[in-house]
């Protein structure tokens, strides 16, 4: 068993905040190692959402009465917290969506498809993107005749960063990249990529779904034009996501949803739009989700994102050391934790990842198996599937020890 480590986070206290971690799975302690898919929720977040429903449920921005004012205040308060969390200049740079997927689709549609892009304009992505940062750009190619180009990966899981120099041209209008890979854990040099994009007059779109929950983000330092992430991966509820945009980038984006809230005036056959960011929030929003995400941001801010990152680096290093050393196990992605988030994809000789996940499940361990919504990356490495463990604030070294024991059990079964 692991030595009680000198961790920055008080993990036992954190674990106690998460009701689900008190339950058992197949009579075992739940060892949740799938936070890259979705994180668990602390009681503070659960309570914030139930508090909304039980004390001040009302629609936002419309009601004249007190309840509505309270709901609006909390909803807009969440926007302010999220703006502060990522260092935005103003809450008006924060658009509430339902997910990273919707945020990226909004950019692809509103900036790419309906925006200024011309036939033959180029969009540069990477082979390590999640499907949600591939498919929306396929739409732009199919409906607008944009040309898609992709930066490749090295065998060590890092981006072939020098390829940007070859791929970026005067026709490049959009560069889109994940800040952190959900399979390899690779942390990409997005600040440098955004700088190169700007040098050719392109905007830079960042998928921060795996980054915002796990490391400090400063949108001003990164200087990208759009940045997307999901509430549910950062201790918040499902169904709430964020698109951060620079004011001029959001102004150049057309809305995806027409309806209430997003308009200024509607007449038969025409309408004028509300200001950014409300222009993008057509219809009654996920109010409870936004408030829950605000509480999640409070929780993370309280822990300190530097401490969260350091904690995960420590677990990841430990996992790389322990799991990387087991004979017959292969790990993927960077081995240097400075370049890697707490995501560890691995395969075990002679055991299919699906069988690995089933056997670990019986041990109470939740890991992901499959292609992780990154089929182009899996094809690039010629892997049909991998297992993946991912770590968060409620994990500790003992969880890794349980995983290591589970992997050895898999090897026994398939010996």
């Amino acid at each position: 068993m692991a030595k009680p480590a000198k961790m920055l986070l008080n993990v036992p206290a954190i674990k106690a905040d998460f009701p689900i971690l008190q339950r058992k799975v197949r009579d075992r302690r739940l060892v949740y190692l799938d936070s890259a898919a979705t994180s668990q929720k602390p009681k503070q977040v659960i309570e914030a959402t139930t508090d909304f429903y039980s004390r001040y449920n009302a629609n936002v921005h419309r009601a004249i009465y007190e309840l509505g004012e309270e709901a609006t205040r909390e909803y807009e308060g969440a926007r302010e917290k999220i703006a502060a969390f990522i260092g935005a200049r103003s809450p008006n740079e924060i658009v509430f969506t339902k997910s990273t997927t919707e945020s990226l689709n909004l950019v692809a549609y509103g900036y790419g498809l309906k925006g200024k892009l011309q036939k033959g304009d180029e969009i540069v992505g990477t082979v390590m993107e999640h499907h949600s940062n591939h498919v929306p750009w396929h739409f732009v190619k199919d409906h607008k005749g944009a040309v898609l180009k992709y930066v490749d990966v090295n065998d060590d899981g890092t981006l072939k960063i020098e390829q940007y120099d070859e791929l970026l041209t005067k026709r490049t209008k959009i560069v889109t990249v994940t800040l952190c890979s959900n399979v390899l854990g690779t942390i990409n040099p997005v600040k440098e990529i955004a700088k190169r994009a700007h040098e050719v007059g392109a905007v830079c779109v960042v998928d921060a779904a795996q980054a915002a929950p796990h490391m400090p983000i400063d949108v001003q330092d990164l200087n990208a034009d759009f940045l997307a992430f999901s509430g549910h991966k950062m201790l918040g509820p499902t169904g709430i996501g964020i698109l951060h945009g620079k004011p001029e980038a959001l102004e150049a984006t057309e809305p995806l949803l027409g309806g209430g809230e997003m308009i200024r005036e509607v007449h038969l056959g025409r309408a004028s739009w509300n200001d950014v960011p409300y222009r993008f929030e057509g219809g009654t929003p996920n109010i409870a989700g936004a408030i829950g995400l605000g509480a999640a941001v409070d929780y993370l801010t309280n822990l300190g994102m530097e401490a969260v990152r350091t904690h995960e680096m420590e677990i990841t290093q430990y996992a790389l050391d322990k799991i990387g050393r087991i004979k017959g196990v292969t790990t993927y992605g960077p081995k240097d934790v400075k370049k890697k988030a707490g995501v560890l994809a691995f395969t075990i000789d002679n055991a299919h990842p699906h069988d690995v996940a089933s056997i670990l499940d019986v041990e109470g361990i939740c890991v992901r198996s499959g292609h992780h919504c990154a089929q182009p990356l899996m094809e690039r490495y010629d892997l049909p599937a991998t297992a993946r463990a991912s770590f968060y604030v409620y994990n500790d070294l003992e969880d890794v020890d349980v995983l290591v024991a589970g992997i050895k059990k898999v090897q026994e079964v398939f010996a």
């Binding site: 197949r26 002679n350 055991a351 299919h352 990842p353 699906h354 069988d355 089933s358 056997i359 499940d361 019986v362 041990e363 198996s369 499959g370 292609h371 899996m378 049909p384 599937a385 059990k409 026994e412 079964v413 398939f414």
Partner: protein, 151 residues
């Protein structure tokens, strides 16, 4: 091993997944079909030789988890020599077994060796792995040209 794990990964299953029977192509088959489970990357191709409505020879190739491989291997053994209708009936019984509730009686006399896969019903997410080869067999029998895709 824990009890339900031993159920899922019985010796017979491990044996069939490591040394699958009828694991080869049939040259110039009378029918064949490809099955794909995009969720886990399992891919199986089933080949048939037919003679008077009887499955005279059945074989498969592909890659996948232990459950899908063992299921394909056991299936090819089980349906060889059966009529199309009998094979279909066997699939129905097999389907009932793997989608049943843990503890439900298993029709061992009809299912024979296939009964070793009864433990799958405790792992609902694995039902697709076990049934992919059967869906693919059905597609081959019905000579469907398109790829069977289980999602």
């Amino acid at each position: 091993m824990m009890a339900d794990l031993r159920e899922l990964y019985q010796e017979t299953i491990l044996d069939h997944s490591k040394r699958p029977r009828n694991f080869h192509e049939i040259p110039h088959p009378d029918a064949s079909a490809v099955g794909h489970n995009p969720l886990c990357g399992d891919r199986v191709t089933v080949f048939l030789r037919l003679s008077d409505g009887v499955l005279a020879d059945v074989a498969f190739v592909g890659q996948g988890c232990a459950i899908s491989k063992a299921s394909a291997s056991l299936m090819t053994d089980a349906v060889k020599g059966k009529t199309k209708a009998q094979a279909h009936e066997l699939f129905e019984k097999f389907r009932r077994m793997v989608t049943g509730r843990p503890g439900d009686p298993v029709d061992t006399p009809s299912l024979g060796k296939l009964a070793v896969l009864s433990g799958v019903c405790e792992f609902p997410v694995r039902v697709k792995c076990a049934s992919l080869p059967w869906h693919t067999l059905e597609a081959a029998i019905e000579a469907k040209k398109e790829i069977v895709s289980l999602e």
